[in-house]
Symmetry: C2
Subunit: 403 residues, 2 copies
């Protein structure tokens, strides 16, 4: 029997208990032994909860109990969660987490502590909730040089963009409704400004490269400037708009990483990823393209991913199974040197100026829209584009990168 402690009895933590209990037979079979939840750590009491009697308030009790070999950290944050994780790993207890903030901030340190103490720090649930992606990268694509990863990694923004596309509604309006329904936080900044997706692509990139990608240095642009008008033009061009988190190996020492809204072709598999679903598109040098799709968040999908990590730990007592990455930061390539095509939405009447600034592009006028027009530039360096775009000042209304 393996004793488990769950840190934090909130949404994900209670989900972990639910998954282990509901799928007991399957979970024990896959773990090849019985898993038992011995402690649940929380500041609160849960007198009416069926597992309320397992709730304790002192982490030391868990730390000192040598029969507890696996800890699920579902508290979130980088304060107590960091301390508890570190202490558990130092005692040789494996830690399975859904805490992407902590993994993005202290991943390499915690991985090396785990390695030094022959236990594991696993975080399948930290990227893409219910999409198995960390383990495929760690176990399945092992014969591959991964060249690029492109992901839809945030459920809230994907829900908002999907709604905007379907209903022709504007950002503010859809965000407000999403907040009312609980699909977006009251302070939605971390999601809509792309910070959440940024942390996740930092984790995936670090795994891909074996070196640390500093999430704070990744170019990040959110979706708050995307409008219903942009979607009207995208639709007419057979495209849609998605918030993509991208990472591309430039050389062994350099990676290009960014988070930004992109216009993508309706033929691209990522264009089909709608609502709260997320997906990760991976390009390997032998395998070519592959894609992993699933629910990006939610209590049970996230908890199921945490429990799959617990099972993996249970199967490998005393063995380090996770590929770790070095603490050294890898160099990030300058996004502005990338070449691509851009979509511009501009005020009516300035067609000539736009065509002169970006010769050889493609004009897109929509019937019934008198106030603006669309324009697709030829492929050009972002630097070059930005200079010319900014010089057009208030003649232009917005721009979106093309994939």
């Amino acid at each position: 029997m393996i004793n488990i402690a769950v840190l934090g009895y909130g949404t994900v933590g209670s989900g972990v208990v639910e998954v282990i209990e509901k799928n007991k037979e399957m979970v024990n079979k896959k773990a090849a032994q019985e898993l038992d939840i011995k402690y649940i750590l929380d500041l609160r009491d849960f007198p009416n909860d069926p597992y309320g009697h397992k709730v304790i308030h002192d982490f030391n009790q868990i730390l000192k109990d040598d029969t507890v070999t696996i800890v699920c950290e579902t508290m979130g944050g980088t304060g107590a969660a960091y301390e508890f994780t570190k202490q558990a790993l130092e005692r040789g207890k494996s830690v399975c987490t859904s805490n992407k903030e902590l993994v993005a901030k202290h991943g390499p340190e915690l991985l090396s502590i785990a390695k030094a103490h022959s236990c594991n720090y696993l975080f399948e649930a930290s990227v893409g909730g219910g999409i198995p992606i960390i383990r495929p990268l760690n176990y399945s694509l092992t014969a591959e040089k991964i060249e690029a990863i492109t992901g839809i990694l945030n459920g809230t923004t994907n829900y908002i963009l999907s709604k905007m596309e379907r209903e022709g509604a504007d950002f503010e309006e859809v965000l407000k409704r999403a907040q009312e329904k609980g699909y977006a936080e009251r302070n939605p900044e971390a999601d809509v400004e792309g910070y959440d997706a940024c942390r996740k692509i930092a984790i995936l990139s670090s795994l891909m490269l074996g070196k640390n990608v500093d999430s704070e240095k990744i170019y990040t642009e959110g979706i708050s400037k995307i409008s219903a008008a942009d979607f009207a033009y995208a639709k007419a061009a057979g495209k849609t708009i998605k918030l993509l988190a991208r990472s591309k190996t430039v050389s062994e020492d350099e990676v290009l990483a960014m988070v930004a809204p992109f216009m993508i072709d309706k033929e691209h598999p990522l264009s089909m990823v709608n609502g709260v679903f997320n997906a990760v598109f991976v390009t390997g040098n032998m395998l070519g393209d592959s894609m992993y799709y699933g629910k990006g968040a939610g209590k049970l999908p996230t908890a199921s991913a945490v429990v799959s990590d617990v099972i993996d730990c249970a199967r490998h007592p005393g063995r380090v199974i996770m590929c770790f990455w070095e603490q050294e930061n890898i160099r990030l390539a300058d996004v502005s040197l990338e070449e691509r095509s851009f979509f511009i939405r501009a005020r009516a009447g300035f067609q000539k100026e736009i065509e002169e600034a970006f010769p050889g592009g493609r004009l897109l006028c929509l019937e019934g829209r008198e106030q603006d027009f669309g324009y697709f530039t030829p492929v050009m360096q972002e630097n070059d584009f930005t200079g010319k775009y900014e010089a057009l000042a208030d003649r232009v209304l917005g721009r979106i990168r093309l994939l």
Copy 2:
């Protein structure tokens, strides 16, 4: 160092050598030691091949060499491949294969021989070539009760159907062109009649259930009756047509498995899987839906999957890592008792008869098509449908199930 033998130096076998050589550094890092190809078994000689000096003709040389601990079986077939695999496993050598025929026919036996000799029989490449799906089922979805698997599992038929959809061409015409280009075999039966997809869904279902699903008993229908006209109606209804391999848990002792063309909604993620790409859509009781997408075949994608198995073996010397399934056959549910809606294409003039036979359905007439019309029946039992459909004799031109 780990010595490897490759059995069969054809397309996949030479791909395995290529992947191990080209991605040497990455492969050795992931395997945590150096992998070396010691022997290549083939009947032919390859005097001009850079690895020609490794080619041998006698399997016993491999069998008796105790330094060879991993064997890649890329011969195909169920004759010599079966004998060699069995003998290798009995000597404690792990076997990694792309041979779906052999896995579907002798999987449980070979898995139990491997288990008895503390080695592994791995077959990631046998289902969906470059899509990592066996390992996610084995390692990632471990906390899940898998309720259903729906896959596009055959590249040739998916290529043909995608072409038919895009070009409005008929089956025979597209097949002929696919054969000319080498995308379809000269004898295309195994692909177009669904037998290949059937073997693959048998393997996935067996893994899902832990009991053997006999591929020869799975209801299997190919795509040769699908016409350009069917695609015209599908398109008008916002749908497309895909050859799906499905498996659904009915109870612990019973599974519903089938291979047949289905009309699916353009909103369904599987509708986006085009050309030689394949995908597996998995429904778990906690995770909900997830999907795995990639190249279903091809030299390097398939070889990459074989090598990922080799790496997994190298990481786990003397350890059984594969979930095995029992040899006992599980009961297959009667497909004709399933309930669903059907699309019917019928000869012009018989609208009344169709509506009387299947009241409450939806008529679909296309401008410019005088000779026939389409009709979507309400949800009904397949048994019931078939009786009524057959009674309409030559008034009907074809029928396709709806997902």
